[in-house]
């Protein structure tokens, strides 16, 4: 995947997150402070205008500008968390002019590790990590089997979506939702949901074929 394709997918993600503002906010209303959608939409609106106003040299530069923009504009936990994730994705792909499927998986993995480090959190705490890590493992599995990139991303998305379902069954022990503890059971985690939505946009882009030849 080349820089312009990475930027195009990020823009699709931005547009979709902005569309899901209300939904993500409702999810956060149930167990948090009802601002996840607002935070994410504010961040990705800024990302959209940043990406439109400048051209970038490498995929790593795109990830970096996304990171810096989210860090300065989001305002809630999602800012430092997704900011760190994209910053790690940028570091993981540094100096590459094009990224391949394995680079993508490695980048997402290092993004998830960044969230874990920043949030002092692990899987099973009802956070975005409950989608991120399963997605990474599923993609690694498919990649090891030599599956097509479309299959790989599809498997990652499926695992992320199952992760969202899983968050309904557990109590939050990190983030604001931990203040309501057991009462958070039954509700899905907003951050796990927003991550799954992002991966869904990657999946659509790959399926459309527009990125098929370049992600190998």
């Amino acid at each position: 995947m080349q820089t312009n394709e990475v930027a195009a997918i990020v823009k699709k993600i931005a547009v979709r997150i902005i569309e899901e503002k209300q939904f993500l906010t409702e999810l956060d209303n149930a167990i948090g402070d009802g601002d996840h959608g607002i935070n994410m939409a504010r961040g990705f609106e800024a990302v959209l205008s940043k990406l439109d106003s400048e051209a970038y040299q490498t995929p790593s530069d795109v990830f970096k500008v996304v990171a810096m923009t989210l860090i300065s504009t989001v305002g809630g936990s999602a800012g430092p968390l997704y900011g760190t994730a994209f910053l790690n994705m940028s570091k993981a792909t540094a100096a590459k002019t094009e990224i391949y499927i394995n680079d993508f998986i490695e980048a997402v993995k290092s993004g998830a590790e960044g969230v874990s480090m920043r949030g002092k959190s692990t899987e099973g705490e009802k956070t975005m990590l409950d989608s991120m890590f399963p997605a990474v493992r599923a993609m690694q599995n498919e990649a090891n089997k030599g599956e097509s990139h479309a299959r790989i991303i599809e498997a990652g998305w499926t695992a992320a979506a199952s992760g969202v379902e899983y968050t309904k069954t557990i109590a939050a022990t990190k983030g604001r939702a931990s203040y309501i503890g057991e009462r958070s059971i039954g509700h899905q985690d907003p951050g796990a949901t927003s991550f799954t939505i992002m991966l869904e946009e990657v999946k659509k882009a790959v399926k459309n074929g527009s990125f098929c030849n370049s992600i190998t």
């Binding site: 935070n39 860090i71 989001v74 430092p80 990190k174």
Partner: protein
């Protein structure tokens, strides 16, 4: 004198904590960094960075925060600035600010204030 930055989701809360601290330590160097630039609730990387830069001297800056996500944003600011003696300390926001500024005003140094705040307990 060691300076303090009060990081909160609410501008009012951070200003209130600063006022409270100044009651006991009128000469304290304390910088509120609460809310987003447009007044909305949240923590702002840019506002916090600005506050730390204003507060900075070789004697050090301690960041005190109201809750989890404020800590994360504060840590990112500290990492990005990479200045000596700038630290995010986990302690109660109001009492930590009062204790910290009182100590700072009486000339206690950075490491000792950090130690006192990290070991601060409300009930002792």
């Amino acid at each position: 004198m060691v300076a303090f930055v009060i990081v909160s989701h609410s501008a009012k809360l951070s200003e209130g904590v600063a006022d409270l601290a100044r009651m006991s330590a009128p000469n304290a160097r304390i910088f509120p960094a609460g809310g987003l630039p447009d007044g909305a609730y949240g923590t702002s990387f840019d506002l916090i960075s600005e506050a730390v830069k204003c507060a900075y001297s070789e004697e050090g800056v301690i960041l005190i925060f109201d809750m989890g996500s404020a800590a994360m944003t504060s840590e990112m600011v500290v990492e990005s600035l990479s200045l000596n003696k700038v630290r995010v300390v986990d302690c109660p926001v109001a009492e930590g600010a009062v204790l910290g500024t009182v100590l700072a005003e009486s000339g206690v140094d950075f490491d000792e204030i950090v130690y006192e705040l990290e070991n601060f307990s409300k009930t002792e």
